[in-house]
Symmetry: C2
DNA sequence: GGCATTACTCGCACACTGTTCGAGGTGACT
DNA sequence: AGTCACCTCGAACAGTGTGCGAGTAATGCC
């Protein structure tokens, strides 16, 4: 049970570069492409090396290991969520929430990494900083700034992760939503026999003809504004 | 790019059993032990087989593959969150939130799986059913029942996952919190040079002498009640 | 110019992983 | 006694991340 001291890409000095052959940025870019194209499982050092016309082990000069590579490429995901610098706290929170949601949708493989992999990269940090600034300006006091901001981030992650994960499963099966639903139907029905509340909801869905994908999006909005309302009352 | 139709343990008929030698429940129990003791990476079919005094490939008679095994063992995590059957919606929501949080703390490896792996097992379903019942009885109308409940689940997951993930990293390094903080300090400071809001917060933390672990727990409470408040105003 | 040093590339090898296949065994029922 | 379903498992395959050490190429220095 040997333990290694904490280490993250962001805690190590970057090696001086001679600007030739492989570079860290190039590797991260290629990894991002590979991930977007084929998903998390498809990312292997050998495949990534091949895509760059290099040997797999060459990558290890530029990146300590695969985990660090993933930290780097995750920060690229955060790069897409850009926040205004001097906006209303509610507006900033909304931009963050929808920006984050959108970013994860664009990079579905990140759903299983986000919140789990340390987010200490520059892009993650500036997003945090902007968000925190908005809450501080809003008038939250002391540590409440932290709490309020954390709440928004938590909600956003918790809503986005399962949503994207579901879509990923859906896509991996290659079935349409209707296909999947009818495939699962009998088992669901059986399981719901002694779960009256779920059953009722399920029937409502069917009768109201709600598109589950749209419903998820509305659910996101619903919860977000509820949370922001709740936070707003804590401002005085 | 071949695609396989959707399949989950819960969608397949269970094999009849002759109640001898290995059994699915036994396997799941052993997997849970192994996961709790050594973490997600330590779970391999061979190790699990060995722990049961069986060959690795014997497991494949009882379980289709590792993913299904993980679905099964995840449902055991949900087993720990038991909800009252006829309580106030706020109370039920709180029991769920803290119950879920506690369950994931007890099984830290689940942090990187929850929300990503389909939760169609009996325990997950009954928890959902109870939670949904509480929101329906509370007076939420139509699809708002779903939305309100989803919001609570989202917040809970999004708050818990990073918290547990952080503790896992901490434990894996074997360093104390103070060690880690002082190790990261210089890099953090440098990174925060042009992130004034983060820096200010960081300094407040230090001066107020807040224990970050306690703070996280208070943050969970803060966000949860804010969300419930916000949901409450939508009841009329 | 020559030479030493640094910066990088990469093949080999190791210890693993999940999973398939097919050969075997074992008990219950006819 | 024979059949059949249930169950176990060793061998093998195609992968995985990564440490090591040898090899190459460009730079800095005299």
């Amino acid at each position: 049970m040997s333990v290694k001291p904490f280490s993250s890409v962001w805690t190590r000095e970057r090696k001086g570069t001679r600007e030739q052959g492989l570079s860290r940025d190039q590797i991260v870019r290629a990894a991002l492409e590979l991930l977007d194209a084929e998903g998390l499982d498809a990312l292997s050092m050998r495949k990534l090396g091949a895509r760059l016309g290099a040997g797999a082990t060459s990558l290890y000069w530029h990146v300590a290991n695969k985990d660090e590579l993933i930290e780097l490429v995750m920060d690229e995901v955060y790069a897409a969520v850009v926040l205004p610098e001097a906006a209303d706290w509610r507006e900033t929170a909304r931009v963050f929430a929808y920006g984050m949601r959108h970013a994860v949708f664009e990079h579905p493989w990140s759903a299983s990494l986000i919140g789990v992999v340390p987010a200490l990269g520059p892009n993650a940090l500036t997003a945090s900083d902007r968000l925190m600034g908005a809450f501080a300006r809003a008038g939250f006091e002391g540590i409440d700034v932290d709490y309020a901001m954390t709440a928004v981030v938590s909600y956003t992650l918790g809503a986005t992760i399962p949503e994207v994960a579901f879509l990923t499963v859906l896509e991996a099966t290659g079935q349409s939503l209707a296909d999947l639903q009818s495939a699962v139907e009998p088992i669901v029905m059986k399981a719901m026999a002694d779960r009256p509340n779920l059953l009722k909801r399920y029937e409502s869905y069917a009768s109201e003809g709600v598109d589950p994908l749209v419903a998820r999006r509305l659910a996101f909005e619903f919860g977000l504004t509820a949370l922001l309302d709740g936070l707003g009352t804590r401002l005085r």
